[in-house]
Amino acid sequence: MISPVKVWRHQKEIAFLLGKKGKIISWTLIRVPPAGYERETPYPVVLVELEKTKRLVGQLVDWQFKDLKIGKRVKAVYRITRQPDSEGVIPYGIKFKPI
């Protein structure tokens, strides 16, 4: 179960990151996913450096193969991170979008 309390606590950290820009430091394309991510497979996961300070790992959305390269500029966006469970809590989080 995805704990509603955990989701709520996590939300507080997200607002700060929204819209921040950065570039891809390294990336991979996941073809064998963990449980709960089967529907999106394959999907890219990128390590991003935001405004030359904070580094984050997140999925890349709205992507094309030409976006998968080190140095590509991206922006932090708000997305559902995984499929909601029977409790109905929808977990949102940061993903990245090419710019």
């Binding site: 390294s26 990336w27 991979t28 394309l29 996941i30 390590l47 790992v57 993903k95």
Partner: protein, 384 residues
Amino acid sequence: MKVAVLGVGTTKFGELWGVSPRALVREAVKEALIDANLKLADIEALYVGNMLSGILGRQENLGALFAEELGISCPAFKIEGACASGGLAVHNAILSVLAGIYKTVLVIGVEKMTDHKPEEITSALMGAGHDEERAAGITFPGLYAILARAHMEKYKTTEKDLAAVSVKNHYHATLNPKAQFQFEIGLEQVLTSPIVAEPLKLLDCSPTSDGAAAIILSENRKQKTENRKPVFIIASMVATDTLGLAGRRNLTSILATVKAAKKAYQTAGVSPTDIDVAEVHDCFSIAEIIACEDLRFFQKGKAAKEIIKGKTRLGTGRPVVNPSGGLKACGHPVGATGVKQIVEIVTQLRGEAGARQVKKAKIGLAHNVGGSGAVAVIHILKND
């Protein structure tokens, strides 16, 4: 420091559907006791290295469980540190011996993985990852793929270089009757195998495996078995780094390995060029390349080209790296791996490794990593 390894044992590693975790442990311990010429009554404490028993098997209380299974009553502990659980169990057992609390201790590493489907195992292994990495749906192959991509960018390491690690380790495994994959593979086969997390392919990745390994450590420096060289652990060091990759500035090196290795070489009074044989943590092909550089067997950025030339292969290289077949081909029951590495090094230093014997091996090293480099454990062993 000097702690004697009196006995070693391992089960075969592989997809052992017919064998329970309890049976795996019984087999490995029986072999280690016979090897040491000791009885269960001689064991004063038990250390169990395991990662996934709670998340996959819903059982965490392994210290008491395996003490019960073996029919002994002694202090018993489960030690967890992701894929370094085995190495950490060995480290803790050594500390207890050095502290003079227990004279003779048993260390078990055990993991039962193949009862579960791939998505469950992938998800369970991510229990060792950072929250942010889990939310991103990344996997351990994915984390090492990110490290591989960075290494390829900086040092021009190629996918063929990565493949050469798996090819070598499969060759070594053909000489190890306990290995999961006792057959050779070719470069082309690795390069055309299905992609798991770009640029890592199926044959760049260690398998899911079942298996157990056991060693008996003692302050006693006299081997009860005659006509055999005693083997001693002369350094045992642990270091940690950030849990997630986002916390690291350098993606082409595992800082925990660098730190633990530096202290271990210092404590043992040996240098990287003294190492004759090493078991390193090749959970993915790129991990062995980075390990060979971080352990200073080769200069940074140079290991891949040396490995592909056979410089770590049995018969043509020094140090010989992963004569057991490594995690890739001997198998990787995660909690068992760190203990199995010690078993292999002891076997090599005794001169009992048969077809895969590294000639005149005197000093050996075992390198066990947890997570994507969050924990590293280094042991250095010597045969006199």
